[in-house]
C-alpha cells in the first residue's frame, strides 16, 4: 500500500514535470511579438539585497520602455528572472534555465563569482550576456559571449588607492570576506596599487556567516591604520559601521561600489563614522531618471520593499536600468531577436543617453570607462554627497 502510494506520488511528480514543461513550452511560443530578456541575478544568499536592487533597475526600465521596434515590427519585451542564489553550484542550473527558455540576451549578475560560473553555459549556448556590475576581470577575460557595462576591479582598486594616498592615508587596513571573489579581488588590486604608491597594508579576512566585527575593528585600531578599507557586501557593511561607531574607530572607512546603497546610509545615519565610496552613478546626475524611479517605487510597494524600504537609489539600480537599454539597442542593431545576431551586434555597439554615461565595448567586451564617482556619506541626513570624479592615473 505504502509502496503503491509512493509510486503514485512519483507518477504525480512526473506528470507535474510534464505539465511544467508544457507550460514552459507554450509560454515561449506565445506570440511572435514577444522578446524575452533573461535576468540572471541573486534574490537570496549573500548578495540577495544587491541583486534585488539591480533587478529593480531592470524592471523599472522595462516599465518605462516595455516595447522595442526591430525593423518594422514592434515587440513586447518580457523579463525572465531567475534567482542564482549567490551560489556557484546553483548558478549553472539557473543559467541553463534562462538559456532553455529561449531568451535573446541575458543581463547580470551582481557578484562576479556567479557570472564566472555561468559564463561557460552562456558560451556553450552562444548566448550573449551583459554583466551589469560584476567587476572582476575574469568575467569577460576568456568569454566571447560576456560583455559588461561597468568598470573593472583593477581600475576601481587603483582609483581607491589613489584617493586614499592623495588624502594622506599611509597605512590601510583591508578586510575582505573569505571565499568571496569580489571583495578579495578588489582588496588585491587596492593593495597592489597602494603599495606601489608607498603605502603600508594590513590584510585580514572574515569567515562567512560572521556577524561579530568587534575584533576586526579592534585590530585596525591596534595596528594604527589610517584607513579601513572593506569593500564587502552590504550585509556585513551595516555590521561594520555599527561596530565602528561603538568602538569609535577613528579612521575613515573606504569601500567600493557595493557600499553605494541605501542600506549603508541607513546604517550610518546619526553615527559618527566617515564613509567614502567609489561608484558608477551619482544620484542627481540625471533628474528625470531619479524622479521617475522614485515615483515608480512609491507606487509599487513590492519594489519599495526590495529596495530596502525607501526610495534612495543605489548605483546598481541605475546600472540595471542602463543595462536594459543597452540590451534594447543591441536588439535593434541586430535586427532580429535571435541570440546569435544579438551577439554579433554587440562588439560594435555604441549607446549614449544613459544615466551612468555612454557605453561602448573594447576588444575583451568591457565598457570603456575612465572615471569613477567618489561619494561620501552624510551621516546627518543619511544621504550620499558627491565629492569628485576620480580617474585611475
Amino acid at each position: 500500500m505504502k509502496k503503491f502510494l509512493a509510486l503514485m506520488l512519483t507518477l504525480l511528480l512526473v506528470m507535474m514535470s510534464l505539465a511544467a514543461c508544457g507550460g514552459g513550452g507554450s509560454d515561449s511560443g506565445s506570440g511572435d511579438n514577444v522578446i524575452k530578456i533573461g535576468v540572471f541575478e541573486p534574490a537570496s544568499g549573500d548578495n540577495g539585497a544587491g541583486g534585488k536592487q539591480e533587478t529593480l533597475g531592470i524592471q523599472y526600465a522595462n516599465f518605462v520602455q516595455p516595447t522595442v521596434t526591430i525593423g518594422d515590427t514592434e515587440y513586447n519585451v518580457e523579463l525572465t528572472i531567475v534567482d542564482n542564489e549567490s551560489d556557484n553550484s546553483k548558478a549553472v542550473t539557473a543559467a541553463q534555465n534562462l538559456v532553455s527558455q529561449n531568451v535573446s540576451i541575458v543581463l547580470g549578475s551582481y557578484g562576479s563569482a556567479v557570472s564566472i560560473a555561468a559564463a561557460d553555459v552562456f558560451a556553450d549556448a552562444g548566448m550573449p550576456a551583459i554583466g551589469v556590475t560584476c567587476t572582476n576581470p575574469q568575467v569577460t577575460a576568456d568569454c566571447e559571449q560576456y560583455f559588461r557595462i561597468c568598470f573593472l576591479d583593477p581600475f576601481q582598486g587603483t582609483v581607491l588607492a589613489n584617493y586614499a594616498w592623495e588624502n594622506g592615508m599611509k597605512k590601510a587596513y583591508c578586510l575582505s570576506k573569505q571565499g568571496d571573489d569580489y571583495s578579495k579581488g578588489l582588496v588585491n588590486y587596492f593593495i597592489e596599487a597602494f603599495k606601489g604608491l608607498g603605502g603600508e597594508v594590513v590584510e585580514e579576512q572574515f569567515p562567512d556567516k560572521n556577524s561579530d566585527f568587534t575584533s576586526y575593528v579592534a585590530n585596525a585600531k591596534k595596528n594604527g591604520c589610517d584607513v579601513f578599507f572593506s569593500p564587502v557586501s552590504t550585509e556585513a557593511a551595516a555590521l561594520i559601521i555599527d561596530q565602528a561607531e561603538a568602538q569609535s574607530l577613528g579612521m575613515p572607512i573606504l569601500a567600493g561600489d557595493t557600499w553605494d546603497s541605501n542600506v549603508i546610509t541607513e546604517a550610518a545615519k546619526g553615527k559618527k563614522v566617515d564613509i567614502t565610496v567609489t561608484t558608477f552613478y551619482q544620484e542627481g546626475g540625471n533628474a528625470d531618471f531619479d524622479s521617475g524611479i522614485k515615483k515608480w517605487m512609491e507606487e509599487n510597494s513590492e519594489a519599495m520593499t526590495n529596495n530596502g524600504g525607501n526610495t534612495e537609489i543605489a548605483a546598481v539600480t541605475a546600472m540595471g536600468y542602463d543595462a536594459y537599454f543597452v540590451a534594447l539597442e543591441a536588439l535593434k542593431a541586430a535586427g532580429s531577436k535571435d541570440a546569435g545576431d544579438v551577439l554579433a551586434a554587440l562588439p560594435d555597439l555604441q549607446v549614449s543617453g544613459l544615466v551612468c554615461g555612454d557605453v561602448s565595448f573594447n576588444e575583451t567586451g568591457d565598457a570603456n570607462k575612465t572615471e569613477a564617482f567618489v561619494k561620501k556619506c552624510n551621516t546627518e541626513s543619511g544621504t550620499w554627497e558627491f565629492v569628485k570624479k576620480q580617474a585611475a592615473e
Binding site: A43, T214, Y216, A218, N219, A238
Partner: protein, 294 residues
C-alpha cells in the same frame, strides 16, 4: 598595563558574545539532557525571535515587543516539539535528528521568503546600544549588561532545577527517561517546560545578541547555534553551569584568535575545540560520567 590595554577590547567582546552564546546553549543542553536530541532548529528559533522583534517594534512599544518576542519564541519552540519531535519520540534517533534538520531548513527558508533575503536591521534599544568607555576600550552598553544578566538568569534556573518539583522531575527524566515515566512523571509536561525555558532564554539572548550585532538574515542563527552547541558539549551536556562556562570560554577564545590575526580560523577553532573535547574528555567539564552518550 600595556598588555591589558591592547587586549581589553577583545576580552570585552568575548565576554559579551560568550554570554549570548550561553543563553542559547542552555536550550541545547537541557533539550539534549532530556531528549538526547541535538535540536538543530534552536538556532533558528533564536534567529526568528530577532526577526519578529523587527516587525513587532514597528507597531508596538518596545517593552511590550520584548515580552511578546519571548512569548513568540516559547510558542514556536513548543510547537516545533509537538509537531516535529513528539510523533517521532519512539522512532530511531536518526529520524528525530533528521526532523530537526528539516525544521531548521524550513525555518530558514521561510525567513528567506518573509525577508526577501534582505538583511533586516534590528531596532535600536538606545539604553543597550549606548557607547560606554572602559579604560582603553569603548564598547556598547550591552557588552556589560550581557554577562550580568546571563549569570542572574542562570542562577535562577539552577535554583529552579534544584529546588522545585518540576526541576526535580526534569532531573529525573534526564537521568532515566523510562523509569521516571513509570514513576508517574508527566514526561510530556517536563519536555514542554524544557522547551519553554530554552526558548525563552534564546529569545532574551536574541535581544542582547542582535542589539550588539544589528543585522538579521535567515542564516543569522546557524553559526551562533552551532557554537552554542559546542559550548554545551564543552561544559558537559546536560549541565547548565557547564554550558555557561563553555560559552564564555568559546566567546573569549574566538575573539582572542581574531586578535592575534588568525581570523581565517576563528570559526574553525570552535570545531577544533569540539573535536578535542570529544576525544579527550567526552563528558565535558561538568558532565556526569555514567551516562552512555559517547
Amino acid at each position: 598595563m600595556g598588555f591589558i590595554q591592547t587586549w581589553l577590547p577583545y576580552i570585552l567582546a568575548g565576554i559579551a558574545v560568550g554570554g549570548q552564546y550561553a543563553l542559547i546553549a542552555i536550550g541545547y543542553t537541557m533539550v539534549y539532557g532530556i531528549l538526547r536530541l541535538i535540536n538543530f532548529a534552536h538556532g533558528d528559533v533564536f534567529m526568528w525571535s530577532g526577526l519578529i522583534m523587527v516587525y513587532l517594534v514597528t507597531i508596538l512599544p518596545l517593552w511590550l515587543s520584548v515580552i511578546l518576542v519571548i512569548v513568540f519564541a516559547i510558542v514556536l519552540g513548543t510547537t516545533i516539539e509537538k509537531v516535529a519531535y513528539r510523533p517521532l519520540r519512539s522512532a530511531p534517533r536518526m529520524s528525530i535528528m533528521i526532523s530537526a534538520i528539516g525544521v531548521s531548513y524550513l525555518l530558514q527558508n521561510f525567513a528567506l521568503y518573509i525577508t526577501g533575503g534582505l538583511t533586516k536591521t534590528y531596532p535600536t534599544i538606545s539604553w543597550l546600544q549606548r557607547t560606554v568607555t572602559i579604560g582603553s576600550a569603548s564598547t556598547k552598553m550591552v557588552t556589560l549588561v550581557t554577562p550580568v544578566l546571563t549569570i542572574v538568569l542562570v542562577f535562577l534556573l539552577v535554583m529552579l532545577i534544584k529546588h522545585t518539583k518540576i526541576g526535580m522531575a526534569m532531573r529525573a527524566v534526564s537521568r532515566d527517561f523510562e523509569t521516571s515515566s513509570l514513576m508517574g512523571i508527566d514526561i510530556d509536561r517536563v519536555i514542554t517546560v524544557t522547551f519553554v525555558i530554552g526558548c525563552a532564554l534564546a529569545a532574551i539572548g536574541s535581544v542582547l545578541y542582535f542589539s550588539n550585532y544589528t543585522g538579521i538574515q535567515p542564516m543569522s542563527g546557524a553559526m551562533p547555534g552551532l557554537k552554542a552547541f559546542v559550548a554545551a558539549v564543552f561544559g558537559g551536556i546536560g549541565s547548565v553551569p557547564g554550558a555557561v562556562v563553555g560559552a564564555f570560554v568559546i566567546g573569549i577564545a574566538e575573539n582572542l584568535i581574531k586578535g592575534v590575526g588568525w581570523t581565517n580560523f576563528s570559526d574553525a577553532f570552535t570545531f577544533v575545540l569540539l573535536i578535542i573535547i570529544l576525544m579527550v574528555k567526552p563528558t565535558g567539564l561538568f558532565g556526569e560520567k555514567n551516562i552512555d552518550k559517547v
